[in-house]
């Protein structure tokens, strides 16, 4: 189970960034914990977190929500989900995750974030394998941004890929 002190920085960061960049208010929907495959909405930004917190954050939304948020951010109507729009949504995930890791550092967890990757296409299937995902719907007047956190406390360290392959696969953690 993901601890609240790892989750709250993401909630705060998402609320702050969506408010300051897109002028929307965010309310949190009911949380669920998921272990099975994630079926995506139209647009999903994936940002990895690597350090004393270790895992991934996903930001999923419909194309309409993405275009609505971008229109507010850019101050002009975004009608096509083209490369510029994709870049903008990637940046949104990047900025939220960056801000969340700044807050995590204030709680004593140091982590770096990866460059964002965009997964495009409704109904794409993503697995985070043995890391469960806490699903947090962020409700805004432009639609729901679904935040999935697949994070682990990694303060004890430990490098991945160091254990015998067959053993790691055969013995789920």
């Amino acid at each position: 189970m993901i601890r609240a002190e790892l989750v709250n920085p993401f909630l705060l960061a998402a609320g702050e960034v969506l408010a300051s960049e897109a002028g929307v208010t965010v309310s949190r929907g009911p949380l669920t914990l998921e272990r099975d495959v994630y079926e995506t909405d139209h647009v999903t930004v994936l940002v990895s977190v690597i350090g004393e917190v270790w895992g991934m954050a996903f930001y999923g939304m419909s194309q309409d929500t993405a275009k609505g948020i971008l229109s507010r951010m850019l101050g002009q109507q975004v009608t096509a989900f083209d490369e510029l729009a994709q870049s903008g949504i990637g940046e949104l995930g990047n900025v939220i995750t960056g801000k969340a890791t700044t807050k995590l550092a204030e709680h004593g967890y140091n982590a770096n974030i990866s460059v964002p990757t965009l997964i495009i296409g409704k109904g794409s299937r993503i697995s985070t394998l043995d890391i469960g995902r806490l699903v947090i719907p962020l409700q805004t007047e432009l639609g729901v941004v679904r935040l999935d956190l697949a994070l682990r406390d990694n303060k004890a360290g430990g490098a991945p890929g160091s254990v015998d392959l067959a053993l790691r696969v055969a013995v789920p953690q």
Partner: protein, 172 residues
């Protein structure tokens, strides 16, 4: 994309296929892409942060996965079940981990993310402003395409900090 990142990944893939699956791999012709990648049946995605940063994708057919995982685990896999999914993710993890050790030997320190699996053909995966170098690895069990979207982390920059974060906060 900086070409100095190619060889550590290719060498790591050769080594891991050889030691884990007793499989000889051959490298096909490289190609460079700017557009989004359309996924094959199975794609393992791993991010890299540190003195280099970016994303590595390992893409292959389900049939190739089943043959390689059967070989590694020493038991036949006929279905792409959760154990086979773990197996293929681990292959990506071990190759990327080994590549990071080879990069460290060249003075480039990086850390890697947990693997993420993208299941199903035809999903678009965009590495945004990072170009992808595609390295086909041919084996007797099928082809694995390694997509490298990895570049230098700008000097003096906090590795997780993108240059356009600041720009985004000002302009957007």
């Amino acid at each position: 994309m900086n070409v100095k990142y190619v060889n550590p990944f290719v060498q790591a893939a050769f080594e891991v296929f050889k030691t884990e699956a007793n499989l000889e791999a051959r490298r096909g012709a490289l190609s460079l892409h700017s557009s989004a990648c359309t996924s094959d049946d199975v794609t393992v995605l791993i991010s890299v942060v540190g003195q280099a940063r970016g994303v590595v994708l390992y893409s292959m057919s389900e049939n190739t996965v089943l043959r390689i995982v059967s070989n590694i685990m020493g038991q036949p896999f006929e279905e792409f079940d959760s154990l086979a999914q773990s197996g293929v993710a681990e292959i990506g993890n071990v190759i990327t981990g080994r590549a990071s050790s080879l990069l460290a030997e060249e003075g480039i320190e990086v850390r890697i993310s947990p693997p993420v699996l993208i299941l199903g053909k035809g999903t678009l995966v965009s590495t945004l402003d990072f170009q992808r170098l595609v390295v086909p690895m041919e084996t007797d069990m099928g082809n694995i395409h390694i997509h490298l979207a990895v570049d230098d982390t700008p000097e003096g920059m906090f590795p997780g900090d993108l240059p356009h974060v600041a720009a985004a906060e000002v302009n957007l």
